[in-house]
Amino acid sequence: MRVCALSELAPGEGRRVELDPPVAVFHTDDGDVYAIDDTCTHQDASLADGWLEGCEVECPLHASRFDLRTGAVDAPPAKKPVRTHEVSVEGDDVYITLSEAAPNLPPGVGAPTGGSAPSTQGLA
């Protein structure tokens, strides 16, 4: 599935793709493109908003770092890896193939909560 144009994604930046669950696509300073689940596995935070350094992105809330290549997390509070998705770039188009593994969403996200939790926006 096409998610964006490469020219819209400056090196060193990430972007959230509104799927369910959302996906984050990153363009590293070295020119590589990676896609992982956007939601930190610890709490509801968008990794596309995180601090990208080399092949790692740091969660904007609690600073757990995820490896874009493997999805692995360096240190808690996040305890589980994020899924990685296969990326291909054809011309200016960035395509991803979604992982078939089950996502590691944080507690309270993605599950029916009842009450007044903010609803998930922009389901694809």
Binding site: D49, P60, P77, K79, P107, G108, T113, G115, S116
Partner: protein, 394 residues
Amino acid sequence: MRTVAVVGASLAGLSAVRALRRQGFEGRVVVVGGEPHRPYDRPPLSKDFLAGRLEEPDLTLEAEGEDLGLEWRLGSPAVCLDPSARTVRLGDGSAVQADGVVLATGALPCRLPGSERYDNVHVLRTLRDALALREQLLPGRRLVVVGAGLIGLEVASTARALGIDVTVVDPQAAPMTEALGLDVAGVVTALHERNGVRLLGGARVEGLVGPGAGRAEGVQLHGGLRLPADLVLLAMGVRPAVEWLHGSGVRVDRRGVLCDGAGVSSIPGVVAVGDCSAWYDVEDADFRREEHWTAARERAAVAVGSLLGCSTPAPVRPPYFWSDQFGLRLQFTGRRRADDELVVEEGDPLDLDFLATYRREGLPVGVVALERGRSFTKWRRVLAAPAIQQAVRA
């Protein structure tokens, strides 16, 4: 160094233990915790846990299968440190002897006199506190929150969503004025008022109203106003948990364990990190307690480096905190002073969607954002750049 005692089993203590292992310490590590629990994450206690969306197992800070080879001594607090004998004594009469000591005992909520005797007057620091408060947060009840800091405001937000009538009283004219300045305090006020919270600024609390024990009936303000309440939360700030160190020779004052810029206390071989500590700050030319989650996590590696005699670079990132209220995310980083100028860079504060910088002689020294996580991270990187930090200090 063969044995290290880490006194405190929350985020700062756990981060210290991880840093010890990561920095190559293979000796014995004893972790002392006053609470009976393994390390857990406190920020959700005022939010998702209080709302019932998270439960106790969701809060654990240790990863599945994580084995740092620790000896846990949980459920009995440290009561005395004897640095000459390098011994920590615990409340249950046992003792831990160690070559190095990490103090990470955190902080204790401030209370009003006599508040402990009321069943419906709460503080919020521990899991136990949160469970007690959660049980009483029932729709239609009247909650009075004393103190409009992060804890008070987050509980107000959670409670409103649960259908509770909420009044927040605070000595400052507007909430978080000291931390964020008057303009942003106005935004926080608007956020709460739009969501039905009654904010009473400039209010001095005289005490609790009630028979002295059992159920408090309300809160008495200076000037005669009496706020009836079904339950009360005291969120009036914290004091460092350092009483147990008096007489130990470790230098302590109301700010906490006084440490140099790398976490070393007045006694070599004893370092301190997290809410119990006040590290020397070059910019302030004074000791400063950094009472936020991120500081507890990041500074542990520095303190442990000092303890092990490795040279670890000092933390380079400016202070940072975040808060979730009424579904919106507030973030702040930097070092704001009262006379810094607020410049809105993006969005509009009145729309509750903006990013602003605090500027000192034109240079950005702080950033505050509501719902602007993406731009906030960019600004956070700008502020953390060594060139900016040096220019600000010069």
